[in-house]
């Protein structure tokens, strides 16, 4: 199964999105298809053996839209010096085409540039440059772009084209509006030139308006092309409404002009050209503002992408070389100067500095780095010079993963959006029905043709469902983008929607509430055991264990320079401890359960255990050759922000639980220190998911926050799984929300953001529905029938444009989201 997303062109409203989705989902071999109107993307999951891009593209094109082929590899443009004639141009082309992984080569002699597509997995840029050199020419500066850059360029070019057409439409529509206002509202006293006085020169009056309207309709031609095409395919959309409405108004105007020319001067009072021109212009304005806002909603991704520098300084054979980022390989040593951006993920090999990771994690304080510290590409180096050993490049870097995650999240639909889709699918045909019925009703009631046409056109124009289709995706795009800025990565609309409904938060203790780096604080020996010897035995046994307590023991032993040996055997008992053989002696190290199961009498440590666990320390019993030898205690400090975070969560109305494998006394001590009264303790790793389920069965909507491998089942079981970003890949993969910051403040930030986003969506849906619910009966003349006012097509067009703009503007308010502390 392949899961990917493609760009879709030609969609203008949610009815379009619904059609594309249906068309793609109907292709055999496609398991699921989801369209995000705001991002103009089709996310599709399909069996590659049964269907490929071509079949999907055909299906979408048959529905009347376009599917953009994924850009293979990257595109680049290389300046070339030394070309003087056509044969030089051919020579360079031949040289590039010979390289495996290079295609679509185009060399321009006039601009001295070669543009091409290349697959970074098959060919390096340095090899491309080398090929140019071998051909006898000099490669100059390189300008590269990948699929995202290309998409951004296309979007910006499309926006510029829209602006040009809009300006042209306004230039021609403004005088028509003036003429119409001067004519319809003589009380305004707006002067009209004598040669177009409708009473004296009705034909000139009409012809001028016709000639001014025509270029407006040409500028807005897209509505007519798409609208009638989709109507003919039996899938009318918002463009169909605009096309029929304004087209009817224009054609009637042409008819009226002809009648004036034949002597029926009364038709000068009922031309409707201004309706056609102004409505098309207003719809274009609404679409332009929408497109501009959509570009802004993806600003979060733009910002993230801009964190990536274009070049890196690597040290090769003692020489500093500045290379394109694509040229950096794993194992290279990159030099990062003070104040510059760290180019790729790596480990500090030499030097020390403080690094600003705020753009990635949202954490405002710089983090100290020294040899051995991991650094992330995109973060900013402080005052020290660093040499960084590169560990991840390209799409494997944390920044690339975050960008991908945010892009995917923005493409995924929230359940609340699906409701809008269902409604939109029926909306356009329903509106066409209402328009015809209202017009017919007024005609039967004896109204003249003018009035009936006014009703018909106004209903079509005001009933645009585009605001409805935009209400949810725009808010989700802005919300997830904002989250990314704050270090909260929400993996989709569904996760966003579920998070806001959470009423219980379960926090894993180690690594979530606490630092996750326990330190050995106490060693108590029994039965005459030697402290150093016992510790060395225990540390040797624990060398193979990843458990934080085990690591604390090993660190303490190393700190005392105790000799450690390789155990002859090692077995870990999950949730209990380890059973190993060291130097021929059997060593058991773990919790009370392990001792109990192995029949070890621990009564000698009773008092010590009570005292130490009462102080919130984690206990580890050590038995050697079947007898208790020592009791070790480790303290895992609580994160400084945990107490405040728990308080904020409770203020938000959430029940807070702490989940741990520790014994009750230790667990309670830690919980008390941070203000948590609900403690789930002595929970085995495979019991965590069951605890979550138990809470869910009590009617709770549970968010689980964890960071370890053993948290993964619980993260999946929870309604919302939140992984601390500093945690393991498995936890991050299993979670719905990734908290890039290592502290719990990110939890209440995630909940607050999700509530703000859902609130925003509800506001948008309210406004979108309000415009349509009130507008349609208004336009159909329902209020007029009871003495109320009558809407005209021009005002309907303005209201319709306003509805889209107000929804998108409201969504953009989320960019100002801030947590009140």
């Amino acid at each position: 199964m392949k899961e990917t997303s493609y760009s879709v062109t030609g969609m203008t409203c949610s009815a379009c999105a619904a059609h594309v989705q249906r068309a793609a989902a109907a292709v055999p071999g496609v398991e699921s298809a989801e369209v995000n109107l705001a991002a103009e993307k089709l996310a599709v999951r399909f069996d590659e053996r049964l269907v490929g891009f071509d079949a999907l593209q055909r299906a979408v094109e048959d529905a009347g839209y376009g599917l953009v082929a994924p850009m293979e590899g990257k595109r680049a443009e290389l300046g070339i010096e030394g070309m003087t004639c056509a044969s030089c141009q051919s020579a360079v082309e031949r040289a590039l085409k010979k390289l495996e992984g290079v295609k679509d080569v185009s060399v321009n002699l006039a601009t001295n540039r070669a543009s091409f597509a290349y697959d970074p997995a098959k060919v390096k840029l340095s090899e491309i440059r080398e090929a140019v050199v071998k051909a006898g020419y000099t490669p100059l500066e390189l300008k590269g772009e990948d699929a995202r850059d290309a998409e951004r360029e296309k979007r910006e070019a499309a926006l510029r084209a829209m602006r040009g057409k809009l300006v042209a439409a306004v230039v021609f529509a403004a005088p028509i509006l003036y003429i119409a206002m001067a004519h319809m509202f003589p009380v305004l006293g707006l002067p009209l030139p004598g040669f177009i006085d409708p009473h004296r020169y009705p034909l000139a009056f009409a012809l001028l308006q016709l000639l001014l309207t025509a270029p407006v309709l040409v500028a807005g031609g897209r509505f007519f092309r798409v609208g009638f095409r989709t109507l003919l395919k039996g899938a009318p959309n918002m463009d169909t409404l605009v096309a029929i409405g304004t087209g009817s108004a224009f054609l009637y105007g042409v008819y009226a002009t002809a009648r004036i020319a034949l002597g029926d001067f009364g038709f000068a009072q009922h031309l409707y050209f201004e309706s056609a021109a102004v409505v098309v212009t207003l719809v274009m304005l609404g679409k332009y503002l929408e497109a501009g806002s959509k570009n802004k909603t993806s600003e979060a991704i733009k910002k993230l992408m801009n964190l990536r520098p274009k070049t890196a300084t690597i040290i090769k054979d003692g020489v500093e070389l500045e290379v394109a980022l694509d040229e950096v390989a794993v194992g290279d040593v990159a030099l990062v100067r003070p104040g510059s951006s760290i180019p790729v993920d790596g480990v500090v090999a030499e030097g020390a500095s403080s690094v600003d990771e705020s753009m990635l994690t949202g954490e405002s304080l710089p983090v100290e780095k020294q040899p051995g510290s991991a650094v992330t590409g995109g973060s900013i180096n402080g005052e020290g010079l660093l040499r960084v050993m590169v560990t991840e490049i390209g799409e494997d870097t944390a920044l690339s993963k975050i960008i991908r995650l945010v892009e995917e999240a923005q493409g995924k639909k929230a359940p609340i959006a699906k409701l809008a889709d269902v409604i939109s699918g029926y909306f356009v045909p329903a509106v066409l029905g209402v328009a015809f019925l209202s017009a017919a009703a007024w005609a039967v009631a004896g109204r003249d043709f003018d009035f009936v046409l006014n009703i018909f056109v106004t209903v079509l124009v005001i009933a645009c469902p585009c605001a409805l289709g935009l209400a949810t995706p725009t808010a989700i795009m802005v919300g997830t983008g904002k989250g990314a800025e704050l270090g909260v990565l929400i993996k989709g609309g569904e996760a966003l929607e579920t998070t806001h409904r959470v009423d219980a938060v379960v926090l894993d203790k180690t690594g979530t509430v606490t630092q996750g780096k326990p330190e050995l604080t106490d060693v108590r020996v029994y039965r005459g055991a030697d402290e150093a010897q016992t510790l060395a035995l225990c540390a040797s046994a624990e060398r193979g264990s990843e458990h934080p307590i085990a690591r604390a023991v090993v660190e303490a032993a190393n700190g005392r320079s105790l000799p450690l040996v390789q155990p002859e055997s090692f077995r870990a008992a999950a949730g209990r401890g380890i059973d190993a053989k060291v130097g021929g002696r059997r060593v058991l190290a773990g919790n009370f359960k392990l001792m109990e199961e192995n029949g070890i009498d621990v009564s000698a440590s009773g008092e010590d255990a009570k005292t130490l666990s009462g102080a919130g320390k984690t206990l580890m019993y050590v038995a050697v050759d079947g007898a208790l030898a020592a009791l070790l205690a480790a303290a895992d400090a609580v994160k400084p922000t945990s107490k405040h975070a728990v308080q904020k969560l409770r203020e938000m109305g959430l029940e807070v639980y702490m989940l741990t494998g520790d014994n009750a006394a230790t667990a309670k001590a830690v919980a008390d220190s941070v203000g948590i009264s609900n403690v789930l303790c002595e929970v085995l790793p495979d019991g965590k998911a069951a605890e979550i389920e138990r809470l869910q069965k009590r009617g709770r909507r549970v968010a689980m926050v964890g960071d370890g491998i053993n948290d993964a089942p619980a993260l999946v079981q929870a309604d919302v799984g939140m992984a601390i970003g500093t945690g393991t890949d498995v936890a991050v993969e299993s979670a719905d929300v990734v908290l890039m910051r290592g502290d719990l403040a990110a939890v209440y930030m995630a909940v607050a953001l999700s509530r703000a986003t859902i609130r925003n969506i509800r506001q948008n849906l309210f406004w979108a529905f309000l415009y349509n619910v009130v507008g349609i009966p208004f336009a159909a003349g329902l209020f007029y029938a009871f003495g109320g006012p009558l809407l005209t097509p021009v005002f309907a067009g303005a209201a319709m444009a306003l509805s889209s703009v107000s929804v998108v503007t409201n969504a953009l308010r989320l960019r100002r989201f801030r947590l009140k502390d």
């Binding site: 009473h199 004296r200 009705p202 000639l211 001014l212 040409v218 002597g263 001067f265 009072q269």
Partner: protein, 216 residues
């Protein structure tokens, strides 16, 4: 898009400049409808080739006089002639008559000057249309009544666009406010009806009308 805009603007300017005359449908239909009306009712015109004016009347009392040659008629190119007495009875002070009005014995004239014209005219409609030729704004079309009209200084002569569909085929119109200013009680001028009309800006104004239905 620039090219499109420029082309349209040029086309627009060219069309308007070149086609102005052809666009004046009010003048062409007005002339045609007056011609049809006169052809259908030849008795409306008083035939006297020695008279420097061509005369139109439905009742032999109130006339529209149109000079055969505007160049020879001084400042009285078109006149409405009607009996003076009803106005005197209504209080008109003939000593105060300003330019555009004249009292001569038992007759009351409302006059208008339209320049020197373009030469002698033998046809009544041609002669009348010298006025809008002089000033296109003098020719009007009133949509509500479906009337064409030629404005005088203090009045108007109107005729129906389609007399078959109109009960007021020709109408003489006088400015009532002006007459009030000259002392006449506009509501009580015998033989004339006071009517309130609406102008293009939606304002009201009063006129005295004498309308004739020429249908047999």
């Amino acid at each position: 898009m620039k090219r499109l805009s420029i082309s349209f603007l040029s086309l627009l300017a060219a069309a308007l400049l070149a086609g102005c005359a052809a666009l004046d449908v009010v003048a062409s239909y007005g002339r045609a409808s007056l011609g049809e009306l006169l052809a259908a009712h030849p008795a409306l015109l008083v035939r006297d080739e020695t008279d420097p004016y061509m005369r139109l009347s439905a009742d032999g009392e109130t006339y529209l006089l149109v000079s055969r040659d505007f160049g020879a008629s001084g400042d009285e190119d078109i006149l409405i002639q009607t009996p003076l007495q009803p106005f005197l009875d209504a209080g008109l002070d003939e000593s105060k008559l300003p330019e555009g009005y004249r009292a001569d014995g038992a007759l009351f004239f409302v006059c208008a000057d339209y320049g020197v014209g373009t030469g002698a005219r033998a046809d009544f409609a041609d002669a009348l249309f010298e006025a809008p030729a002089y000033d296109p704004g003098l020719l009007t079309y009133h949509g509500a009544l479906d009337h064409f009209g030629v404005a005088l200084s203090h009045g108007k002569f109107e005729w129906a666009k389609d007399e078959a569909k109109n009960d007021k085929d020709i109408v003489f119109v006088l400015d009532a406010a002006r007459l009030r200013g000259l002392g006449a009680d506009a509501a009580n001028v015998a033989g004339w009806t006071l009517v309130t009309m609406q102008d293009e800006k939606g304002g009201d104004f009063d006129v005295l009308i004498k309308a004739y239905d020429l249908a047999p």
